[in-house]
Symmetry: C2
Subunit: 258 residues, 2 copies
């Protein structure tokens, strides 16, 4: 299972951003990688580190976190296929902690490999740049989320983003996915208190937008959730109109139920 696995995960993610040729995929297949396993809350890379490898996330979730004013704050969220520390490639001093949520598998890939990729293929170089850029877009959007939405819409928006990003890598096609996040984690991401996170989830449940039971989240009314959140996924840089696909899927679900 392990052999070839890391690069396909990454190829899927890049393919969600740009169209890849078979030459590109051949180049990616040469990726040297060391596999690492982590448990929930393990810190994969720490503030102050100067790693010479990037973390390609294969399974689970990684978040950039920071202990600020005596509470942990989540500043971004990464799904399999992402390389959270790609932008640190040429200036590898970490200013934040990279924390695992749930059981996590990563591939450590030498910085050198990505530099060689960039030189070997203009398209791959562009793809890597886009990958970095979407992280920045996500950060600005995260700021916008915290700044302009109330707790309910904020949580809804986070779940919309998570769903679409999972769908872009072929997961959560049925709007259902496993989540290692506790309500306290959700609170740390959305900058609300844990108690209010609970109130908010219950309100989302009451509105029949989702179910969230014991580590499984299911979005039961996608277009309702999108409307509540004011979610516009263009900032994710995704090639496919996942939202439209999703709407179609949801519509078909609705038909079945009627």
């Amino acid at each position: 299972m392990q052999s070839g696995f890391p690069f396909t995960k990454f190829a899927d993610r890049l393919a969600s951003l740009v169209e890849l040729s078979s030459d590109d995929v051949d180049l990616l297949a040469k990726m040297p990688a060391t596999i690492g396993h982590f448990g929930s809350r393990d810190i994969v890379a720490r503030k102050g580190d100067r790693p010479t490898v990037c973390c390609l996330l294969l399974q689970g979730y990684l978040c950039w976190t920071v202990d600020c004013e005596s509470q942990q704050q989540i500043t971004s969220l990464h799904v399999p296929g992402d390389i959270p520390d790609l932008q640190a490639l040429s200036a590898p001093l970490l200013q934040f902690d990279l924390t695992a949520f749930g059981p996590v598998v990563v591939a450590f890939v030498p910085h050198r490999f990505f530099r060689e990729l960039s030189e070997a293929s203009a398209r791959l170089s562009r793809a890597l740049s886009l990958l970095m850029l979407t992280d920045v877009w996500c950060l600005r959007n995260w700021i916008c989320n915290l700044a302009t939405r109330d707790a309910l819409a904020r949580v809804a928006h986070l779940l919309c983003e998570l769903t679409v990003r999972l769908q872009a890598i072929g997961q959560a096609r049925d709007f259902r996915f496993l989540s290692p996040f506790t309500q306290t984690d959700l609170a740390a991401a959305c900058a609300i208190s844990a108690v209010h996170a609970n109130r908010t989830i219950q309100e989302l449940r009451r509105r029949k937008l989702l179910q969230w039971n014991s580590r499984t989240i299911e979005i039961t009314d996608w277009s309702g959730l999108v409307r509540l959140a004011g979610f516009q996924p263009d900032y994710l840089g995704l090639r496919k109109p996942s939202l439209q696909e999703a709407k179609d899927f949801n519509a078909s679900l609705a038909e079945i139920r009627i």
Copy 2:
């Protein structure tokens, strides 16, 4: 005044991050630039644009803004010497608006020039990477600021960051600087209402931490402001310990007053 001016501004900024050799400065001096002037609230580059030049800020302030839920949100702040759209170099699709605050002078510099710089000098390449990276660090810190501090500390933190960044480029040495920002702008940056921004500023004045009159801000108690904000400037990546310098300066001021 115009000739040579753009590159010195930029060299100052890079020198705040890494030590530059005279060769590096010679390379920077070859920077081709077109000067542009903008008025307050002008949009220098717009969401959806695909520019082939970067914006080197020479005078005034540029902010990345986004109209989200019918209100303008500021997601980052840039001072002279910064290149707000440097990270868009290789994937130049803009997802946000770059807005001028106050009268602004920029130098438009072709993307090509920065690619050539990176190839010509490893140190300059590293400096450019650091410049991009500090933007990302600032974004994560901005998230942390919105998420973990109340309005008073949030405003204090923003002013601390602004002061240190200005000092790093040789401005605001005496903790006094011109500001084109209205209280409404401050509110848009800190995600508070304009009314509350006013209350907050008055509280900062009442505590004798600063004066803010008709476009001029003066920090009158730097260490008090730093303490209130819980400000730790390491995320700015600055080479010089500006904070220490500042503390010394403030201490000397205090002595004079006694």
